[in-house]
């Protein structure tokens, strides 16, 4: 793969991130990948495993800004190994059973397997989770290196299709890649910027909940993917791939602070960065819990439009990724005035 200065830019970083296995609660490996990338920044790891990197000091008139992207991904967890070595499982996060049959998984101990399904009475039906199993090549329970409670992630190689990038766990490794790039390029400003690579987002924003309490920010921004309405017969949504980062106005868990939305729009216009306004009808991000931590925090979200979210082939547009980096850098560089609602 090309290095960072070549045409590939962030692509080798993205590939490294998306090809790492790290379901919710099991983020040690992906955290180490991130720590290596941001070297010599070390950061600290909190009680729930969030990686927290502080840059700069809060000067007069400045803010403590928490930027969060979650490093966990959806996955599976073994619930039973039967006498013939087949592994029954449950989901970690929002896994849809119709994406599973025929897929491949990798357990944290390295064991790999394929997903098969019981023969259904009605072949027209989609398998439910209880009707699926992982065949990891074991012939019986005794020889299985996978035990009840072991966790697996999906396996799918990174794919470049022109401007489109495809991988499992674009949600939210693409946000992680954006924050790493921002961290590398950010010099200093009057703000203290706290980069949080959060855990357990996919099971209910749990890492960001405790990180936000610990960081105690003045302003919170999450960087995550959002859905699009630009595919055949998709649900209606005014966000498309390639039209720029989406500035979240609302999702089903949070109404962005209107001052934050206005500030983001102005920064994008000033920096001549394409952007879209986002209203997401299902789902939420780490910004939700930042907003309601302690006595409350103005919060918003920079979203990267993504097709096929929570499938093994999530697709983003590379230009949106680069423009997200630009927008966030623009946001944290200058003085911020949020006084008026």
């Amino acid at each position: 793969m090309a290095n960072r200065t070549g045409d590939n830019g962030m692509k080798s970083l993205i590939q490294k991130l998306v090809e790492t296995t790290g379901p919710s609660g099991y983020e040690t490996v992906i955290r180490e990948v991130i720590q290596n990338e941001i070297n010599p920044e070390k950061g600290e790891v909190d009680a729930l495993g969030n990686l927290i990197v502080r840059k700069g000091d809060k000067l007069a008139g400045g803010y403590r800004i928490m930027l969060a992207a979650h490093m966990d991904e959806i996955g599976l967890i073994a619930s039973h190994v039967d006498e013939n070595g087949f592994i029954r499982f449950n989901s970690i996060g929002g896994v849809r059973p119709h994406h599973l049959l025929g897929g491949r998984v990798r357990f944290m101990n390295g064991a790999e397997g394929v997903i098969g399904g019981d023969r259904l009475e009605n072949q027209e039906k989609v398998h439910s989770l209880e009707n699926l199993y992982i065949d990891a090549g074991f012939e019986n329970e005794k020889t299985s290196t996978v035990k009840v409670g072991d966790v697996a992630g999906f396996v799918r190689p990174f794919l470049v299709l022109g401007n489109r990038l495809v991988a499992k766990s674009m949600d939210d490794r693409i946000g992680v890649a954006v924050l790493i790039e921002v961290l590398k390029q950010f010099k200093t400003s009057q703000h203290e910027v706290v980069f949080v690579f959060s855990t357990q987002e996919e099971v209910g924003l749990r890492g960001a909940t405790t990180a936000a309490y610990g960081v105690d920010p003045d302003l919170g921004i999450s960087v995550d993917v959002t859905l699009t309405g630009d595919t055949p017969k998709s649900s209606r949504m005014a966000v498309s791939l390639g039209k720029g980062p989406a500035i979240k106005v609302r999702d089903s868990g949070m109404i962005s602070d209107p001052r934050v939305v206005r500030w983001m729009v102005q920064a994008a216009e000033k920096g001549k960065i394409p952007f879209q306004r986002e209203i997401l009808e299902g789902g939420s991000t780490d910004a939700r819990v930042m907003q309601i931590t302690r006595a409350g925090v103005p919060a918003g979200c920079v979203s990267i439009p993504c097709r096929y979210v929570h499938s093994p082939s999530e697709m983003v547009d590379y230009r949106d990724v680069q423009n997200s980096v630009k927008l966030i850098l623009e946001l944290i560089r200058e003085p911020i005035h949020l006084e008026r609602f």
Binding site: A47, I77, H80, I92, G149, V203, T210
Partner: protein
């Protein structure tokens, strides 16, 4: 801890009184009184917080000792009286998760005085075949107390099934074993508290309606790590078509069940590993609860403040949230032994280990 008496006569008597007492979520006074009576003379500190949690602290000899919170919930599922008529019929709504199919034709106890009542049903002679194939709506059920007794009730009074505790051989039969067995285990632990840790024990309220008591208890204690001690279903029955049972949750007699993941918590992997290695060293049987739905006090505890590494350890039992639960003495003893060994050996190094 080798001097620890396991489950003897005295402990069984305590479990009997805990199981027979009524403490439906939000009204845990009877259980609180038992806990206070048992522990007021052996705790370094004991207090009741604003939500009704009993918070017990046992200090370590070491000032910088690891602060370990243990929580077991005092409350149980049940029902609340919402309407009383002149005939002495009471309409009721559920408190916590109860399958309403459990209610018809059961004896119940209601209110502070444990007034006896019965949830009556039509005689079989008078029902149509089609009626007998459907579940009765909760709105159609009434508790029959009789007009004189019903006068002693108030709207909002709570009640539960009128099951009396029994020990039969190695099995314990009773209502509310979820989580009175956990309460009994923690009472024994406080009475035999290890000195190497700062022990913070919460007997919590309102777990069955969303781990509400544990949330504020964890805020106050602000511990380094936490264990929720609860009870979990064992559905280790034979499968009708003689296929392998793959959805049993846990199995009776297989020891304390460690949680890896449920709907509310992903347990800290370091704590799971520590429990496993302790059990293996001490030759105590254990099982991993099948990852899936459900939740314990850990769901609220681990998200408190800037995060508290947590794990749940549950005593398996059959027929959860029904009028009668069944548990085994050996599982209770093994849970107690495991927790004693775990707490005696744990220290600050657990927090610097890799996850």
């Amino acid at each position: 801890m080798s001097t620890l008496k396991l489950i003897g006569k005295q402990q069984l008597k305590l479990i009997e009184s805990l199981s027979n007492a009524v403490g439906v979520s939000g009204d845990e006074g009877e259980i609180r009184a038992i806990v206070m009576r048992e522990l007021k003379d052996c705790a370094d500190e004991i207090k009741i917080d604003p939500l009704g949690n009993v918070l017990v602290t046992h200090h370590s000899t070491d000032k910088h000792a690891l602060k370990v919170m243990l929580a077991a919930h005092m409350d149980e599922v049940g029902f609340m009286v919402v309407e009383i008529d002149e005939e002495g019929y009471c309409r009721f709504e559920t408190v916590g998760g109860i399958d309403i199919r459990y209610f018809p034709a059961k004896t119940v106890i209601v209110g502070k005085d444990h007034l006896p009542g019965v949830i009556g049903v039509k005689a079989v002679h008078l029902t149509q075949e089609s009626e007998r194939k459907t579940t009765m709506a909760l709105e159609s059920l009434r508790i029959d107390l009789g007009p004189d007794m019903a006068k002693k009730l108030k709207l909002g009074d709570r009640g539960t099934f009128a099951t009396k505790f029994r020990k039969v051989g190695a099995s314990l039969f009773g209502k509310a074993l979820d989580d009175r067995l956990g309460v009994a285990v923690l009472i024994e632990l406080v009475k035999n508290a290890p000195k190497n840790i700062e022990l913070q024990v919460a007997f919590t309220v309102q777990e069955e309606v969303g781990a509400r008591g544990a949330r504020v208890a964890a805020y106050r204690f602000n511990p380094d790590i936490a264990f929720a001690i609860d009870c979990t279903p064992a559905m280790d029955f034979p499968v009708w078509d003689e296929q392998e049972n793959t959805l049993y949750n846990t199995k009776l007699g297989h020891g304390p069940a460690f949680y890896v993941a449920d709907a509310g918590t992903l347990s800290d992997p370091r704590l799971i590993r520590f429990l496993k290695s302790t059990a293996e060293k001490e030759e105590i049987p254990y099982q991993i609860r099948q990852p899936g739905a459900g939740g314990t006090d850990a769901s609220a505890i681990h998200r408190q403040r800037s995060g508290i590494p947590s794990v749940s350890v549950s005593i398996p039992h059959r027929y959860t949230h029904s009028p009668i639960l069944v548990a085994r003495v050996e599982d209770l003893e093994n849970t107690l032994r495991l927790l004693c060994a775990t707490l005696s050996n744990i220290d600050r190094s657990i927090l610097s280990g890799t996850r």
